[in-house]
């Protein structure tokens, strides 16, 4: 997609086509000859894994849409009909539902890899931002997809998420309510909401596919980052993408499929919630509304703040910070492999997000460290909401304090002169 093309059309037909639409050249330059740093570790295989996830979701989703009925009275039964009467419908649906979970698992690893090795830094800012756009689109798509089976958690998830916008009533009275009414297509989550969510759930994956195209384009201009963070300096630093990385990514993809298959065939409902096998009932709110696991850290941030609008802003702000990351990190060294202090803050950041996820699955008032009892005998003390506040503060501090300023206190380790240098001197990178 960039740089000097090494493609040489060998046959008459290829030469003819190359002069008119150089599409074979594009493919050759992008996935065959594309020079790739030779020291990429397995954390770099998640890009390939994610493209497989996207294709899997689109293929299974298109088939599901052939059998699904987007109607409040029929949606739940139509999903069960897919499970019971459509040939291998259970497999297609479980692949789609668990595929979504695995898609998020892979995207979180992919993002964490970018954060650790400084893949967002100059000259890859646009690449990183396009990734953030994909992540936002994924969240919207996954949320609307989760509404479609029209179970209890689908319905009340839709109520909770769309009500984020009603917090705007605190800015301009009536504005938030007007937006939610417009989103719902009525005065409550109902059949029109389900219908438009289905329409958008079908549309957005193709938008994602388009932005993925841009993401790969923006990758192929500067080329891959690598575990050392040192830019490619000579031909000795790179290998052609095929066969070196097609085979390495291929191996990782098959291992990832083993994990996906384990969920699909042996624990298909482990990541879901029992309440979503109860048909949506607008008159009966479930005791405990929780989103899917991949949204739990954000849900914990939302509930950590007692004021609704502030909670919504804190939650969306946590994603906005990702967009700003390339300009928040002021350190010169890219890879945290050579940043001993920043590396610790990063590890704590990952742990903090995991514990935030745990908090998101609990009730805010659940007590972690009991310190006395209420008059009614229930324990009081350090609760989930307190822990969530500390961790949310750390999440923000990581982006706003650690990334810009830690370099002032950090003694970086010697960075190798080139990608090849540590490979030749050290046994393990």
């Amino acid at each position: 997609m960039s740089g000097h093309s090494t493609y040489e059309p060998k046959t008459g037909i290829e030469r003819w086509l190359d002069a008119r639409l150089p599409i074979i050249r594009l493919g050759y330059d992008s996935v065959i000859a594309y020079p790739t740093p030779k020291n990429l570790n397995y954390w770099w295989t998640f890009g390939g894994i994610l493209s497989v996830c996207l294709v899997l979701q689109i293929v299974t989703g298109v088939v599901l849409a052939m059998h699904y009925i987007p109607h409040g009275d029929l949606a739940f039964a139509s999903v069960e009909r897919i499970m019971r009467d459509v040939n291998h419908g259970w497999m297609i649906r479980y692949l789609h539902a668990n595929g979504a979970s695995m898609f998020f698992l892979a995207v979180y690893v992919h993002m964490a890899r970018g954060l650790y090795y400084g893949s967002y830094k100059e000259p890859r800012e646009v690449l990183w931002i396009l990734g953030c756009v994909i992540y936002l689109l994924m969240m919207a798509t996954a949320f609307m997809g989760y509404v479609l089976p029209w179970g209890q958690m689908s319905f009340y998830g839709a109520v909770v998420i769309t009500n984020f916008f009603s917090a705007l009533d605190q800015v301009i009275p009536g504005l938030g309510s007007a937006i939610t009414t417009w989103l719902w297509g009525g005065f409550a989550v109902d059949n029109p909401t389900l219908n438009r969510f289905f329409s958008l759930h079908y549309l957005l994956p193709f938008v994602i596919a388009g932005v993925v195209g841009l993401h790969i384009w923006a990758l192929h201009v500067p080329g891959n980052n690598n575990p050392t963070g040192v830019s490619v300096k000579s031909k000795d630093d790179v290998v052609p993408f095929h066969p070196y990385y097609t085979v390495k990514d291929g191996f990782a993809i098959v291992v990832f499929l083993i994990l996906l298959s384990w969920f699909v065939f042996f624990a298909p409902d482990a990541l879901g919630h029992a309440d979503n096998y109860v048909q949506a009932n607008p008159l009966q709110t479930p005791n405990h509304i929780v989103p899917e696991w991949y949204f739990l850290p954000f849900y914990a941030m939302l509930r950590a703040v007692p004021q609704k609008l502030a909670g919504v802003l804190i939650m969306f702000g946590s994603i906005a910070l990702l967009f700003a990351t390339p300009w928040l990190d002021w350190a010169k060294v890219r890879s945290m492999r050579y940043r001993p202090t920043a590396r610790w803050f990063f590890i704590i950041f990952i742990v903090a997000v995991l514990i935030l996820g745990w908090c998101g699955g609990k009730l805010p008032d659940d007590v972690i460290i009991p310190m006395g009892k209420n008059p009614d005998g229930s324990p009081t003390g350090f609760s989930v909401v307190h822990l969530s506040r500390i961790l949310t503060a750390y999440y923000y501090a990581y982006f706003l304090l650690v990334l810009p300023f830690v370099k002032n206190f950090e003694q970086t380790l010697p960075v190798p002169d080139s990608i090849s240098a540590p490979v030749l001197t050290e046994k393990k990178g």
């Binding site: 291929g250 083993i258 065939f265 029992a274 309440d275 742990v351 007590v367 972690i368 009614d376 005998g377």
Partner: protein, 283 residues
């Protein structure tokens, strides 16, 4: 080393958080520990147990609970309790036909359009005991008996929860006021604080259920001679409901074993190819 200590402390902290559930304010009892043969990647349904469980459903549960997602043909399809290789088409199965024929369902007369009752066929849904939700509530003191089609998936704890509810009717503890038409069940989610006159920190676990104790010894006579204890009936009907919630579960696990074997072999080949292709590259 400070760092090692920090790391160990961090790991211990995370582990204890994940391992230790936070103290919830109200709760029900954890479901009883019951073994089911269909659990696990290799588990299969005990076909005799599913047949007995269907009998418990048909003779006891079905008088109040619908199973709208099931058809009589499902009972005789592959993996179902009455499947026989002789009848690959479940609609042609004499078992499904006989079970359906014993039930009268509403229809319209094909000549006149008048409402009539006819014997069900394997292609019919399980007959619902009530015409509509209002009728169901009116007959059950305002409570709606839930549809049982996917109940084994729709409750935390699944079949063990169903078993626990069905066998969990102890004498209510002294100090608990049980409203008329309600029954105390420690496995039922709920909050009993406002019905409790005892010490405030000893509110009983569980909640009230509108269904009285149903399964008593010999309530159902099993055709295979199995002793009909309440526990046996509960175990069998839980097995039946687990099958009904996902009739393709056995097919799923069988497919899964083949898929796993294939993928593990494939991964081995890919790894060998990877090692071979990269053998001359220092990296």
């Amino acid at each position: 080393m400070l760092r090692k200590a920090l790391m160990a402390g961090l790991a211990a902290g995370v582990f204890s958080l994940v391992a230790m559930p936070a103290l919830a304010l109200t709760s029900e009892e954890e479901p009883k520990h019951v073994e089911f043969g269909f659990e696990g990647p290799l588990g299969k349904f005990d076909r005799a147990a599913v047949q007995r469980g269907f009998k418990v459903y048909a003779e006891v549960c079905a008088s109040c609970h619908s199973m709208n997602l099931l058809y009589y043909r499902n009972l005789a399809q592959k993996g179902g309790p009455f499947y026989e290789e002789k009848y690959p088409n479940p609609n042609a199965s004499p078992y499904a036909k006989a079970i359906a024929a014993a039930v009268m369902v509403p229809d319209i007369d094909q000549e006149t359009g008048d409402a009539v009752m006819r014997a069900a066929t394997p292609a019919d849904h399980f007959k619902s005991p009530f015409a509509n939700e209002v009728a169901a509530r009116a007959s059950n003191g305002g409570a709606m008996p839930p549809d049982l089609s996917v109940i084994a998936k729709a409750r935390e704890g699944g079949p063990a929860y169903i078993y626990s509810i069905l066998t969990g009717y102890p004498t209510p503890p002294k100090g608990l006021t049980v409203p008329a038409g309600k029954y105390y069940n420690p496995y039922m989610p709920g909050d009993l604080a406002s019905y409790w006159s005892g010490p405030k920190d000893q509110v009983p676990k569980g909640g009230f259920i509108a269904m009285p104790l149903q399964l008593t010894p010999d309530r159902v006579t099993f055709d295979d001679g199995t002793k009909s204890t309440a526990e046996q009936q509960a175990h069998d009907v839980s097995t039946f409901l687990a099958w009904a919630a996902e009739p393709k579960a056995e097919e799923r696990k069988e497919t899964g074993l083949a898929v796993m074997a294939y993928l593990i072999l494939f991964a081995g080949l890919m790894y060998a190819s990877y090692r071979r292709i990269w053998r001359n590259v220092a990296h």
